[in-house]
């Protein structure tokens, strides 16, 4: 069964909206700057990939819960990205045949909330509890669309939204629903997360030049850059499509576990390779059919080398020829949202015939030799693109998007 992509929306550190983000990617702009959300002056890492400040969408008839959701950055990012996807799809998504699958982590309590809990020795109020729930954005999506079909929330760290999109694809193929709203959202730039991830040694500390900090596959890379954002996609089956022109197809999904270590990737890239192979099999494609890989490419020593081995293993003889880039070099790492945002970027690459570059890739690490796209986009008419997402703990997800 063919599943079509009919709507896409995103907000990232590069800006608001699909076309705006695409222009920034084509210009190899960076969305990584000094942290503005709190005073980072004492922190070992003082930069991040923050989203632009956005006002709540003017949504009528808000319940107190929806108002509380829209008061949070996570809620606002969800609403903005979703609204763009709905506008693009331009179709009624209400009713029981429309499902929702969201990639999301639980919202972390902020410092003010923790302080209150500690001082008062009591729980936050119910509205705060609801807002912290991982499925809180699902209720917002239901409110904005009227969708009443099955809902679920995938929480697999950086793989969350990639797997959410994949699970939506499976539900559509099974005939459980006729349309799915899928995607992810994450907001991580806060003092506790910056403290925790910097203590793990996972973050770049290139404070003197933040725009050069995220440099996937480069020999001078020193860690990832925390980011935030949201991406949503509307998937529909052929029956619903009518005469509308789809953007493209979601043609394959694969996933795997590394079964290796919590913080490390296996040097041989075995889990990544298994995920890519299963996505190719699911799409009914041979490796040479893939015209572009949007890599997970976090800019950490281990991930990028492991992913390289995984690509070479899964793609065999064509592994060194397929063009590869990591748009995290410009957007930073959007964690639970990265799979959705990068699936949209991959779909745009297929639709527009240009492949986005890896910014800051000045000197390829000898352990990461692939057919990279450094610094500038390249023109290439491709039929299919692949996008990887690999999470802490070893969950891997791979999607294939295709031209109609």
């Amino acid at each position: 069964m063919t599943i079509f992509i009919t709507g896409m929306g995103m907000i990232t550190p590069l800006g608001e909206g699909v076309e705006s983000n695409w222009r920034s990617l084509m210009d190899a702009k960076s969305g990584i700057k000094g942290i503005t959300r709190f005073d980072p002056s004492g922190f070992p890492v003082r930069f991040a990939a923050e989203c632009p400040n956005v006002d709540p969408l003017p949504i009528d008839n808000q319940s107190p819960f929806i108002a509380r959701q829209l008061a949070t950055l996570k809620g606002r990012l969800t609403a903005i990205a979703l609204q763009e996807a709905l506008t693009m799809a331009n179709v009624d998504l209400s009713g029981p045949r429309v499902g929702i699958c969201l990639g999301s982590e639980a919202a972390r309590p902020d410092l003010a909330l923790l302080a209150n809990r500690k001082k008062e020795g009591k729980s936050p109020d119910l509205a705060d509890l609801d807002a912290l729930s991982p499925d809180a954005p699902v209720k917002l999506i239901q409110f904005m669309t009227g969708a009443t079909g099955p809902t679920s929330v995938v929480s697999t760290a950086c793989t969350s939204s990639s797997q959410a999109i994949g699970e939506g694809l499976l539900q559509l193929r099974r005939g459980e629903v006729d349309a799915m709203i899928v995607g992810g959202v994450d907001v991580l730039v806060d003092p506790l997360m910056v403290t925790g991830f910097s203590l793990l040694g996972a973050l770049s500390t290139r404070n003197d030049d933040p725009e050069a900090a995220s440099r996937p596959f480069d020999s001078q890379r020193d860690g990832f850059v925390l980011g935030e954002g949201a991406g949503f996609i509307v998937l529909e089956n052929e029956k619903r499509l009518g005469g509308r022109e789809p953007i493209g197809r979601l043609s394959g999904y694969g996933c795997s576990c590394n079964a290796y270590r919590i913080t490390d990737s296996p040097p041989d890239g075995r889990g990544a390779a298994q995920s890519m192979r299963s996505a190719l099999y699911d799409a009914g494609l041979r490796p040479e059919s893939i015209g572009y890989i949007n890599a997970h490419g976090t800019s950490t020593k281990m991930n990028d080398a492991s992913e390289t081995r995984g690509i070479l293993s899964a793609f065999g003889q064509v592994g060194s020829r397929v063009p590869v880039s990591s748009t995290k070099s410009m957007m930073g790492h959007l964690v639970a949202a990265c799979g959705a945002v990068e699936a949209i970027v991959s779909m745009l690459a297929v639709r527009n015939g240009y492949l986005p570059p890896t910014r800051n890739l000045d000197s390829v690490d000898p352990d990461c030799v692939l057919n990279h796209i450094p610094h500038e986009p390249i023109q290439s008419d491709i039929e299919h693109a692949m996008t990887n997402a690999f999470g802490f703990g070893g969950s891997n997800g791979t999607l294939v998007v295709s031209r109609c």
Binding site: F38, D39, P40, S41, G42, F43, P44, S104, E105, A106, P109, L111, A112, L114, A115, R117, K118, K119, K122, S123, L126, L129, L132, S133, P134, D135, T151, S152, V153, V154, S155, T156, A157, T159, Q163, E167, L170, R174, P191, L192, M193, T195, G196, F197, L199, L200, G254, C255, S256, C257, N258, A259, I262, T263, R270, G271, F392, G393, G394, S395
Partner: protein, 285 residues
């Protein structure tokens, strides 16, 4: 036909596995729990979580395990049994809300106070010095899945679902379809959740859930079976919607695991059961 060929579980009622030792509910298992004495309701269903260490590849990995991860690994290992070719086995897990940070981060928060307020700058100095470096990873919702996959060598298709009591059900359905559709030959599906710490218990009371908090994990081994093979239970999608019940009055409210614990209990009694579109039928003797 999809068969359930193994069940492993752990809760305040004890461990149960492979239908040979069904969950015993004839003795009261809720008890006063010292951590909750300041609350109006101080009973809790506390499970013995010590068994997980026998399944660890490396003993020092234990420090990364939350209570839910400990129970999850034990239950998954019981359900899996002696499986061959583990690398293709799928793993589908329902998880609760990640535990609040302030337990282990308490010292860091204390050190980050200035004039009675938490101060980001203080967190970057004295607070950072005592902040547990593994805490951001340890409390991620998918760590139960990660620990099970690592210590039981499972590399197949997978997922971790969050979102309250439905999380375990969603995981079971995803596993059922993964086996039906041939994405894996064998899948482990289950959930693990622990709600007995003071913060979680307070949150439950605030939400109007007055049942005693509990904790538990259940995993089931699902696989495609041939017509002539014995299997304790068969399951198939019929779309029938049976009643979803709970054992929370007996063993405490177990969040993401609550519904699956009830399912395991019903299956261990030998009842045919329809639930959330799935029909469970007792298999060949």
């Amino acid at each position: 036909m999809i068969g359930i060929t193994g069940i492993g579980g752990i809760s305040a009622g004890g461990e149960f596995s492979h239908f040979q030792s069904p969950l015993q509910l004839d003795l009261p298992v809720l008890a006063e729990y010292a951590d909750l004495v300041d609350l109006p309701q101080s009973l809790a269903g506390v499970a013995d979580k010590s068994g997980f260490k026998s399944h660890l590849k490396r003993r020092k990995a234990a420090k990364l395990f939350t209570p839910a991860a400990r129970m999850g690994l034990s239950a998954a290992a019981m359900a899996l049994g002696e499986a061959e070719d583990r690398q293709s086995i799928g793993l589908f897990v329902g998880v609760g809300r990640e535990p609040p940070d302030e337990g282990e981060a308490e010292m860091a928060l204390v050190c980050s106070e200035r004039n009675g307020q938490l101060d980001p700058l203080a967190l970057s100095g004295p607070g950072r010095d005592v902040y547990p470096p593994l805490l951001p990873l340890k409390t991620l919702p998918n760590m139960i899945l990660a620990h099970i996959s690592i210590h039981l060598d499972l590399m197949g298709c997978n997922g971790a679902w969050a979102g309250g009591p439905d999380a375990g059900v969603t995981a079971l359905l995803a596993a059922y379809w993964a086996v039906c559709e041939g994405r894996c030959e064998v899948a482990l599906a289950g959930a693990s959740d622990s709600l007995i710490d003071l913060g979680q218990a307070r949150d439950l009371l605030r939400q109007g859930i007055t049942t005693a908090p509990g904790e538990g994990a259940v995993f089931m081994r699902l696989e495609r079976i041939s017509d002539n093979r014995k299997t304790p239970w068969e399951m198939e999608w019929t779309g029938e919607q049976g009643a979803v019940d709970s054992l929370s009055e007996e063993i405490g409210y177990c969040g993401a695991t609550d519904a699956l614990l009830h399912l395991a209990y019903v299956l261990s009694r030998g009842d045919t059961f329809c639930w959330r579109g799935l029909r469970f039928t007792k298999g060949l003797p």
